[in-house]
């Protein structure tokens, strides 16, 4: 009996079953590596990570809007001075806009985490792809070098102080191999050096096998031109004389084979509807009908905050004096193409006999934020002034010529609009700004003007293929580098290229003789102002201002503080995610 018992136990203990199981909807690295095109899958994975919503700590469903591109474009643009945000939204983009970001919000941690996830993927691909094996594999290798550079560059521009504030400032974590066992912050200089080095590598490999990867006309994949254009941007941001010359060289190289549309121009309103095969694009992230923004999650798109048309929230508006900046040359095609009054899409900026007066007014007595005051149905008098009644008192908006352009001021101590030097600037708008166009529930009151730069791909208001690199920027990068290295004629010529294609010819041309009278102290000022108009809402403005060591004037309507941000303000570097600080103990950005 006892023997049988022992035997049974022994038999049971020895009975071993196969316990290896695999999920059918994922693959282990070993399974994937056995696939001949695994490098294509994992490189395309980086494009996927730019556009997909990946669950961070299990938060997939509840965290709408978690897309790298959406966060990136918002973090880069909203901290500039083109956008008015009307009030605190549950979406943390408002925190970025207010320069009061919180290190636990999703735009902070997700942007950081996904960037490193993509960098890891690039590192692993760079380690796995043998150089020179085929034209295709070399191109893939180049793409991975490009992404490693671009992502480190995006991180260092968002999470560290501008390069011009010092190479030794804390940068971001630099990851260029598969070892992730230690985590420390490199300096800004070290990060830039690595970015430049990687882009030079990227150029080398992308020069091979172009035809294999890039289908005719498609701008969906990173190309040799993309690597050159990004390298030009990086050199421009570095700003020392050698880098500026390098920038000019890269741009000149690129512009030597630029498509004709760079000079002849194109239909600006049509451009966002098909950036993916448009000659203006150098590289965009190709979103197609399979992307969430084309269906269920349209209201989490980039466009959803810029416009409201069926879907969308419409919470980012044009800053008032940017409208005037464009409107001094009403023939500017870019303005007509992208400026949208709610419910008057396609009408651009009409001139009407009756006008509306808009002006900043303190939200309350304590905060520094401002809302819009609004008076509709006014008329211009013969002398150009506008008399309007606000809270049962009459005021006069007096036209004043400032730098060849008409601005309007109310000079009356009792006027509740915000005053500078005793005068309150007001803005005269077409009176199709309907009263119920006012969004009045978000902590203030705002007159709404939408921007359509990210809308209407395939007719869908919320869809676009976001452009990372395009020819207009290349021209203006060279213009800025010329301006800063004293080659004003060349700089003005590049500005002319951009202005010509926007329809700003003849009287509107900026020349060496007229730019000062038009309010620009230097050619660089003119270049930066042109950059602002050309690239507004595309995530450049903040970097443009701060890399030139200029202050950013944020005296305009919005829920942010009414202040000037100096180029050395520590708030320019976003707080690092608290999860990063808590787990790796690296140094947090100062405040």
């Amino acid at each position: 009996m006892k023997k049988i018992f022992v035997l049974v136990i022994a038999a049971l203990a020895l009975a071993s079953c196969n316990m290896d199981f695999y999920s059918s909807d994922s693959m282990t690295s070993a399974q994937l590596a056995s696939n001949p095109s695994s490098a294509v899958y994992t490189t395309d994975g980086i494009y996927s990570l730019l556009q997909d919503k990946i669950a961070y700590k299990g938060q997939s469903g509840g965290e709408s809007g978690n897309y790298y591109i959406r966060h990136y474009f918002q973090l880069a643009e909203l901290r500039g001075d083109n956008v008015t945000v009307s009030g605190k939204s549950e979406d943390p983009f408002t925190d970025a806009y207010m320069y009061a970001e919180n290190p636990t919000t999703k735009n902070i941690y997700y942007t950081w985490w996904i960037a490193y996830k993509m960098i890891n993927a690039a590192n692993s691909n760079i380690a796995a792809i043998e150089p020179g094996a085929s034209a295709l594999s070399d191109h893939l290798l180049g793409e991975n070098y490009f992404f490693r550079a671009m992502l480190h560059f995006n991180l260092v521009t968002l999470f560290a102080m501008p390069y011009v504030q010092g190479r030794d400032n804390p940068g971001v974590v630099l990851r260029r191999d598969l070892d992730i066992s230690t985590t420390k912050r490199a300096t800004v200089g070290q990060v830039y050096d690595a970015v430049v080095e990687d882009l030079i590598e990227a150029k080398k490999y992308l020069a091979n096998g172009e035809a294999e990867r890039i289908k005719a006309g498609s701008k969906a994949y990173v190309s040799l031109d993309a690597a050159k254009a990004l390298l030009a941007r990086v050199y421009l941001y570095m700003g020392d004389d050698q880098s500026l010359q390098n920038c000019i060289n890269e741009c000149t190289d690129l512009l030597g084979h630029a498509p004709s549309s760079v000079t002849t121009g194109y239909d600006f309103a049509d451009y966002p509807t098909h950036t993916y095969d448009h000659p203006e694009t150098i590289w965009c992230l190709r979103l197609d009908e399979n992307h969430e923004w084309a269906s269920g999650s349209a209201e989490a798109s980039i466009a959803s905050m810029y416009i409201k048309d069926g879907n969308g929230w419409g919470e980012h508006y044009w800053r008032e004096d940017l409208i005037d900046n464009f409107h001094r040359y009403p023939q500017d095609k870019r303005f007509a193409a992208y400026f949208v009054m709610p419910e008057y899409r396609g009408q651009g900026y009409p001139e009407t006999e009756k006008v509306t007066v808009v002006f900043p007014i303190k939200t309350n007595e304590k905060t520094k934020a401002c809302s819009d005051g609004l008076v509709v149905d006014c008329k211009k008098s013969a002398d150009g002034s506008v008399v309007f009644k606000y809270q049962s008192k009459d005021y006069t908006a007096v036209p004043t010529i400032v730098n060849t352009y008409t601005e309007y001021y109310v000079n009356d101590a009792s006027f509740p609009g915000v005053k500078t030097d005793g005068k309150a600037r007001v803005y005269i708008r077409p009176n199709i700004t309907r009263k119920d166009g006012v969004r009045n529930n978000m902590g203030g009151d705002y007159v709404i003007y939408y921007c359509s730069k990210f809308s209407y791909q395939d007719g869908l208001p919320m869809m676009t293929s976001p452009v990372f690199l395009r020819w207009g920027e290349v021209v203006l990068n060279r213009a800025e580098a010329y301006a800063k290295t004293g080659r004003e004629t060349e700089a003005l010529a590049d500005v002319k290229t951009i202005r010509d294609r926007a329809g700003l010819t003849g009287e509107a041309e900026m020349t060496a003789t007229n730019y000062k009278s038009r309010g620009y102290a230097t050619v660089l000022d003119l270049v930066l102002d042109e950059r602002r108009r050309e690239l507004c809402y595309e995530g450049h403005r903040m970097f443009d201002v701060f890399r030139n060591n200029l202050p950013m004037d944020r005296h305009y309507v919005g829920c942010h503080d009414w202040e000037v941000i100096q180029p050395n303000d520590p708030r320019i570097a976003l707080l690092l995610p608290l999860d990063e600080i808590n787990s790796s103990g690296i140094e947090q950005n100062r405040r």
Binding site: F5, V8, I9, A13, C17, N18, M19, D20, F21, S24, D25, S26, M27, T28, S29, Y41, T42, D44, G45, S48, Q51, I54, G58, G62, K88, A100, T104, W112, W113, K117, N120, V172, T183, S295, A298, E299, G310, N311, I361, K362, N364, T367, A369, S371, Q391, P416, V438, N441, M442, G443, G444, L460, M462, L578, D579, E580, N582, S583, I586, R591
Partner: protein, 1022 residues
């Protein structure tokens, strides 16, 4: 049989206890002793006169005895609760005895084995199914709430069909599931209808659960379903129906006037007058009362049991129907069971058990429906409004479509005030989110009594279930106008089979009794899912084939488990009992190196009351027991040890691969070592008291260990750290009065648990982040410790918020003071300070989500045929984070969301002028200081007492029901959740007390509150 057995025992008892009575004035007392449940006479019941002699009842339950007229008679019978009656000069005394379900000879089902309750050597609580069914729910977890010491049940949602969370003796796990293992009719897993439960047994300590090894670290709940027993056919019908209302506690959103006044005080006058017309006060829509309606619950049940030929049978059918209090939430379930037991030979019995259930459930079509029932502004009326000829507005009764700030009907100036531009009531009237599922569990069991000391059993189960989910987003609604409608279908199926084969030995040698089992288990499972969605279809279209293809998904996987187990028990003289067990498990969830786990357990018991020196003690029963055991936990998702790429994405028409996870080939079992010591006693023959002490050490805890996000991973599943739970449990119940007409029973249980994190990798803290709310796992602290800026109140001088910050401590001359830390570095001495800016306030530990203690009490009052019973539960000493207040108590940060009224009886006040001592900062539109940021400001005392259930029932008189051939008939009215005592400002302080990977324990957001319900029911037995 029971009655004859009792008769014999009682004869012996009477003989032993017969003592000559004192001569006194005696009268003749006669009467009948009956069973309180069915009115049948009790044969052989003891009838004892205080301090004197006694007799027993005859075959009609009748007795005649001589007794002093002022004496007291005690009626007793085995299996019944004794009743004492003062004679008070009466000559006829009839009593009915209630069955004692806690009787010590009761056999407790432990899953693999059964055991006499008296001889249990580990912490086990068993109760009859009848005791559970006093609350109106379909979930057995809810039924257990407040009834077992050390078992905390929390019901975080009022969604019909949702299950409560059950935690037995605290939480030692973080990522891995810590819920109990259900064992149904001897096999782990399976489904059952609560109405079919014969008994339920909770195994609390590891000496009992170790035999279940894997997944038993959260305790084991053993469910035994009813079976046919005697020759008589028993038929039972039960029906209940009632209404439910959502509990909102002290919470209420502002009404129109409150919101108007609130808004006015935070704007400049000029702006307010311009933007907020006084006509707003004419609109006052109560969104909560329109999104929440009266709910309904119904349950109809029928069963029959008995014996037909040689076959014992039990069959039942049940239909449960619940309509939730939140619109468009409901749950329906129809189930049936058949249990057959067939003697094949006189030594071999075959049992067949089948359980089938089909359920339908519906939730709201969007999370916004619940949130915006609280957030939507009272100035927004959801109906299309029209004007009559006199210019008066009236509702057309049709919901208005909103997609922006402008109302098409121009009502109220044409503005929509709520931040969300859509009207959730409009969306809910078109869109839906529905599911249904069915499950079938079939058991085939053989019991072969090979010899009188050897039994072989084979329990085999086949288990299959399927589910289907459908989402419809109508093209006419705000959310789906953009896609032209969205339709989603998904289905899934699960099939599993398993076998448990045991050899059981039992032999008695004189005073020695030996029991042993040895066996093995094997199981396989297969699951599969498929989902598809389409967009752009005509209104009302319900077929995916008529949509534009949008997405597809699918997966399948297999699983396998196997184990062997052995247990031996030795008992000497029926009072010294020793048990030891061991189990070996393999889990496919771990890497090849760490799949196996050994789980031993041992326990001992000493029934002290059986010792001679305990004779005549006031303790009629006393047992001391001690146990030690180890259990394992592999309750994590599959494949966590592998590095895997997700291929669900695509780019530019091609599939993409994204690395989801790092490999961890060393991943292995989480282990729990539990030591426990307990005492069971019966005091004064009536009060059953149990006291337990336990100490549980969880080690190699399975945790999604946070990684720095700059590695590209936020976490890796790993075995890290040690957590200790220790505690005391106390339970007592008994009768205060129990006689024929009147009975009063009281029960009380209490569990104190203390949790500490003992060890972490490199002693580093782990910050668990959920949204922007953090808890910290730190050595020496409770596992659920809140970590956030500390709120210091409102500055009386200026109404600004204050948080604690730390500033350098300065000496008299204003220089910082330094000290040398343990590493020899100079550090600046810091002291507590105050900041008005949220961004300057550091995170710190500010309390725990774990309660200090919890428990329940219950009581039953019986008067003649009426019974009034009540049970309540309480939780004390936990902190709840009320995240809802970040939006709804935001001091002006959100002006497009309705705010909660601070006039809620909790003593809250708003700062208005200098010198005000207030709980709430001054109002400021678009405030920049972050007063509503996550901080201890919104951390509230989570203690509460809840009167869980009150039931009044009436048993129809036997004389009446016997005429209509019934054996019993009972009608009752039951009320759930009618009283909650709490200082919590949200709707309901009952929040989840456990965390999981990414959900904090004690985090309260916009929850679906549990309902108050009133149910009327009738039970009839034939």
């Amino acid at each position: 049989m029971r009655r004859i057995y009792s008769f014999l025992l009682a004869v012996m008892a009477a003989a032993v206890l017969a003592i000559p009575a004192m001569a006194q004035q005696k009268i003749t007392v006669s009467g009948q002793v009956t069973d309180a449940t069915d009115g049948q006479p009790i044969i052989g019941a003891g009838v004892m006169i205080s301090g004197g002699n006694g007799t027993i009842t005859d075959y009609d339950g009748k007795f005649v005895i001589q007794a002093p007229s002022n004496a007291t008679i005690t009626f007793s019978s085995l299996g019944y609760v004794s009743v004492s009656e003062a004679i008070g000069g009466r000559t006829v005394i009839n009593v009915s005895l209630a069955p004692d379900t806690e009787a010590l000879d009761e056999v407790v089902v432990l899953g693999y084995t059964t055991q006499k309750k008296a001889e249990l050597s580990s912490a086990v609580v068993s109760m009859s199914g009848e005791k559970l069914r006093d609350v109106a729910t379909s979930d057995v977890g809810n039924m257990l709430q407040g009834k077992v010491a050390g078992v905390v049940v929390m019901n975080g949602s009022g969604q019909p069909g949702d299950n409560a969370d059950i935690r037995i003796r605290g939480t030692g796990s973080i990522t891995a599931g810590a819920g109990p293992l259900y064992v149904v009719d001897g096999v782990a897993g399976g489904s059952f209808n609560p109405n079919d439960i014969e008994t339920i047994t909770v195994l609390k300590d590891a000496s009992a659960t170790a035999l279940y090894g894997a997944a038993a670290s959260g305790g084991v709940i053993v469910v035994t379903t009813k079976s046919g027993s005697d020759d008589k056919t028993h038929v039972e019908f039960k029906a209940s129906a009632g209404i439910k209302k959502a509990l909102m506690g002290t919470f209420h959103p502002m009404n129109s006037q409150e919101l108007y006044d609130y808004t006015r005080s935070m704007y400049s006058k000029a702006l307010f007058n311009l933007r907020y017309p006084e006509s707003l006060l004419e609109q006052d829509f109560d969104w909560v009362n329109n999104c929440f309606k009266l709910g309904m619950v119904q349950d109809y049940y029928a069963s029959a049991s008995g014996k037909s030929g040689k076959v014992n049978y039990f069959v039942s059918a049940d239909h449960y129907n619940e309509k939730g209090t939140l619109i468009n939430t409901n749950f329906k379930k129809t189930s049936g069971r058949m249990n057959l037991s067939i003697p094949v030979t006189d030594r071999l019995t075959m049992s067949l058990r089948l359980n089938y259930a089909k359920s339908y459930d519906q939730g709201t079509s969007s999370w916004r429906t619940l949130e915006y029932s609280y957030y939507a502004m009272p100035w927004d009326v959801p109906y299309v409004m029209a004007q009559d000829e006199n210019g008066n507005w009236y509702s057309t009764g049709e919901y208005i479509f909103m997609s922006g700030k402008t109302r098409s009907d121009n009502y109220g100036g044409g503005t929509w005030w709520t931040q969300n531009p859509s009207n959730v009531l409009h969306s809910e009237s078109y869109n839906y989110s529905k599911g249904h599922g069915e499950s079938l569990t079939g058991d085939l069991q053989f019991v072969w009594n090979v010899t009188d000391w050897l039994t072989l059993t084979s329990m085999n189960r086949y288990d299959t279930s399927s589910s289907f989910y459908e989402f419809y987003g109508d093209p006419r609604t705000y959310d789906y106008a953009g896609t032209g409608g969205t339709l989603e279908n998904s289905d899934g199926e699960w099939t599993g089979w398993g076998t448990t084969d045991l050899a059981k030995f039992h032999k008695t040698f004189g005073d020695h009794d030996v029991n042993a089992i040895v066996g093995w288990e094997y199981g396989e499972g297969y699951s599969r899912s498929l989902g598809a969605s389409g967009i752009q279809f005509p209104v009302g279209q319900r077929s995916l084939s008529n949509t534009v293809k949008n997405g597809v998904s699918g997966s399948d996987y297999k699983s396998r488990s196997w184990a062997w187990l052995a247990q031996a028990q030795y008992s000497y003289l029926g009072k010294y009992i020793v048990t030891a067990s061991i189990r070996y498990d393999e889990s496919y969830k771990f890497g090849p190196l760490n799949r196996g786990g050994y789980f031993p357990g041992a326990s001992a018991a000493w029934i002290i009351s059986k010792e001679d020196f305990m004779k005549n003690s006031f303790l009629s029963f006393l047992k001391l027991r001690a146990g030690y055991g180890k259990t394992g936990n592999d309750n994590i998702p599959a494949f966590q040890y592998q590095d895997t790429f997700s291929l669900s994405g695509q780019y530019n028409g091609s599939k993409t691969a994204i690395l989801e996870r790092m490999a961890n080939p060393n991943l292995g079992w989480e282990e729990a070592y539990m030591t426990s010591l307990g005492v069971d006693a019966t005091i004064l023959k009536n009060w059953n008291v149990t006291v337990d002490f336990y100490h549980t050490l969880n080690s190699k805890i399975l945790l999604q260990a946070p990684m720095s996000p700059s590695t590209g991973f936020f976490a890796v599943m790993d075995n890290v750290g040690k957590v200790r739970n220790m505690g005391v449990e106390f339970a007592a119940d008994g009768f205060i009065i129990n006689n024929k007409d009147f009975g009063w029973n009281l029960g009380f249980n209490l569990g104190l648990n203390n949790n500490r994190v003992l060890e972490l990798p490199d002693h580093n803290d782990i910050v668990m982040n959920r949204g922007d709310v953090n808890q910290i796992i730190r050595e020496g602290e409770d596992i659920y410790t809140w970590y956030m800026p500390k709120w210091l109140g409102v500055d009386p001088a200026n109404g600004l918020p204050m948080w604690e910050t730390f500033v350098p401590d300065l000496d008299e001359s204003g220089n910082p003071i330094y000290y040398i830390d343990e590493n020899g570095n100079a550090q600046t001495k810091m002291k507590s300070g105050v900041t008005n800016l949220y961004s300057e306030a550091p995170q710190q530990m500010v309390g725990t989500a774990s309660p200090a203690f919890s428990g329940g009490l219950n009581t039953t009052l019986r008067y003649k045929n009426f019974t009034l019973s009540a049970n309540g539960n309480f939780v004390v000493g936990n902190k709840i984070y009320n995240k809802n207040r970040e939006q709804m108590d935001s001091d002006g940060a959100y002006t497009g969301l309705n705010q909660m009224s601070i006039n809620n009886g909790l003593g809250w006040s708003r700062w208005e002028k200098e010198g005000d001592i207030a709980t709430h900062p001054a109002l400021l539109a678009a405030r920049p200081d972050g007063s509503n940021g996550t901080s201890s400001r919104y951390l509230e005392d989570g203690s509460f007492f809840r009167l869980r259930n009150v039931t009044l029932s009436y048993n129809l008189p036997q004389t009446l029901i016997q005429k209509i051939k019934m054996s019993n008939a009972r009608v009752y009215i039951a009320a759930d959740n009618i009283l909650t005592l709490s200082r919590f400002s949200g709707m309901d302080p009952e929040v989840r007390l456990d965390g999981d990977t990414y959900h904090h324990a004690g985090l309260y957001a916009s929850n679906y509150p549990v309902p108050l319900s009133v149910v009327f029911g009738i039970d009839v037995k034939f």
